[in-house]
């Protein structure tokens, strides 16, 4: 299976432009959750590791693949989890804010 470099480069170029355009519009407010989200999405590299482990071509490849899956999965789970936690904290100022817990 060779590389179809030109096709791949087209895909890369288009995705990079979409990335630039989409991310330029992300408010600086959300730059930290943006980074944790892209981190989780980037862990899609796990599919490469899954194929490596599933095909069982050599013990060496399987061992490396297992570690790679663990690393990527922890990014997926941790990345989505923390992004969600952060976003839940962003609230706008409500007119009637319940002033509860005060020592």
């Amino acid at each position: 299976m060779g590389i179809n470099l030109i096709d791949a480069l087209f895909v890369f170029m288009l995705a990079a432009f979409i990335g630039f355009e989409v991310i330029r519009h992300v408010s600086p407010l959300l730059h930290t959750p943006l980074m944790s989200l892209t981190n989780a999405l980037d862990a899609i590299a796990v599919v490469g590791a899954i194929v490596l482990v599933g095909e069982k071509k050599s013990t060496f490849a399987t061992v490396l693949g297992v570690i790679a899956i663990i690393a990527a999965t922890s990014n997926i789970v941790g990345g989505f989890l923390i992004t969600d936690r952060m976003l839940r904290m962003f609230k706008t100022s409500r007119p009637a804010k319940p002033q509860a817990t005060k020592p």
Binding site: M35, L41, A68, F80
Partner: protein, 464 residues
């Protein structure tokens, strides 16, 4: 390409196509806090589809180890997703390291399986993948160590540092090129990987805390690009797209961060960041400053109409954000207009201050960016600076000899009264004296940020 499973192969490719679209939507929805949580859902669905689709591939003969690894990875991921908000910068650096580790390991395995070794192109991209992955892995680990303070935060520099880094980089590239031209020289592959790992360490040790926002963004970009390179090697458009999105996201953030520090982007790219600014040893004479107690500070704040709070890394270190929220609540109840001025590089990663203040329940429409709020300082009664230093230094506007000259700053010195909560008179991270502290309108509030704000809060609460 096998043809017998062409049908299911098509299904899998369509699943990948949907996942790619969901990833793009996910990022698009991140542009506003109102839609951002849809973005997470889109990303999660895309991820599950992609993993599910991959498991259906005909080449996969055994799921046992895949499932075990997925379970262990989730087990590690959950605590990493539950860390405190103050620990988010080091968590982010660590996840860049994990992402790069995955890419490097897969690249290494692919090399020894020999799937790409016949083609020069495949081997070139594979080399690029492991070089980027390797240096991102160790570089991110170093960054995480510095942020977690298990490694010294101060920049570690030595003579000829750039030359050493350049030579090592040359060794990695030359070995990779030789390997591509002579694939039988397999013993060179560990050299390429090993040297890349060393480069990662050396690139990050000279970097100090204040440069971390740029460095984390840059490592984010490298992690994305290495994943895209992996996509080229594995001929996976999904991976290329995800990697390109991550790479461009990191690149945009690096550019924003480097602009906010008045560094040229090439300066940042080639690792000249964190250069020691040794010039600041001059002003030894003790200039007089005015200081104030929490009681006095509380009285001034209570009398103000417009207050702008400028948070910095010091607030994060002192964990003062919840006390700051109490202060915000009390002042708001008294009818004072309180807003927060956020410098792009305040803290240790892009958006760091926003997350901390949001965690403390401060509404995000009170968090104002630098360009937007700078015009309002002349009409501001009190600018209260909590643990920020260089981003408020007026020398950046006026003093050509200052190492930070030209860096965009928050114009706090234009406010009627400036109050600075600070532990002592020691200069900021960059070792630069801040003339703001010697202005007539400036009051220094010496003490720990959390305790001092707590003191002001007690005073304000007691009076009411």
């Amino acid at each position: 390409m096998p043809t017998e499973f062409a049908g299911s192969q098509y299904v899998i490719e369509v699943i990948y196509l949907v996942a790619s679209a969901l990833f793009i939507l996910s990022l698009k929805w991140m542009s506003s806090p109102a839609t951002a949580r849809h973005g997470i859902l889109a990303g999660e669905v895309g991820m599950v589809l992609a993993i599910g689709g991959t498991l259906l591939r005909h080449g996969i003969i055994d799921w046992t180890w895949i499932v075990i690894a997925l379970v262990i990875g989730s087990g590690i991921g959950i605590p990493l997703g539950m860390v405190q908000m103050t620990a988010v910068p080091q968590r982010t650096a660590l996840s860049h390291a994990f992402g790069a580790l995955c890419v490097t390991l897969v690249g290494t395995a692919e090399f020894y399986l020999g799937t790409q070794n016949a083609s020069k192109l495949g081997l070139s991209v594979l080399s690029l993948e492991v070089i980027l992955g390797g240096l991102t892995f160790t570089g991110s680990l170093m960054a995480a160590g510095k942020l977690q303070e298990v490694l010294p935060q101060r920049p570690i520099t030595y003579k000829g540092q750039n030359l050493v880094n350049f030579l090592l980089f040359a060794v990695a590239v030359v070995s990779a090129v030789y390997l591509v031209l002579h694939p039988e020289a397999r013993q060179l592959f560990p050299v390429v990987v090993g040297v890349s790992l060393i480069i990662g360490v050396l690139l990050v040790i000279p970097i100090g805390g204040a440069d971390m926002p740029t460095v984390i963004s840059l490592l984010n970009s490298y992690a994305g690009l290495s994943a895209a390179a992996m996509g080229f090697v594995l001929n996976s458009k999904l991976l290329i797209i995800a990697g390109a999105l991550d790479g461009s996201s990191g690149l945009i953030l690096s550019v924003i961060m480097s602009k906010a520090m008045n560094r040229s982007f090439t300066n940042v790219l080639f690792g000249a960041f964190g250069q020691v600014q040794a010039s600041a040893a001059a002003g030894e004479e003790a200039k007089p400053v005015r200081s104030a107690t929490p009681e006095e500070a509380a009285a001034i704040l209570a009398a103000a109409n417009k207050v702008v709070i400028v948070p910095g890394y010091g607030m994060a270190v002192a964990q003062a954000q919840h006390k700051v929220r109490e202060l915000y609540d009390l002042l708001t109840k008294k009818g004072v207009d309180v807003r927060f001025a956020i410098h792009p590089v305040a803290g240790r990663m892009p958006g760091h201050m926003n997350v901390l203040l949001a965690e403390a329940d401060i509404p995000y429409d009170r968090l104002i960016e630098m360009e937007e709020i700078n015009g309002d300082f002349p009409q501001t009664d009190v600018a209260l600076i909590i643990g920020a230093n260089d981003v408020t230094n007026p020398a950046a506007r006026t003093d050509q000899s200052s190492p930070i000259f030209g860096m965009p700053i928050l114009d706090v010195d234009k406010a009627h009264t400036v109050m600075v909560i600070k532990r002592g008179m020691s200069p900021g991270f960059a070792g630069i004296d801040n003339p703001l502290y010697y202005l007539d309108r400036t009051l220094m509030l010496f003490g720990d940020a959390k305790q001092f704000v707590g003191g002001i809060v007690r005073e304000l609460g007691g009076g009411h």
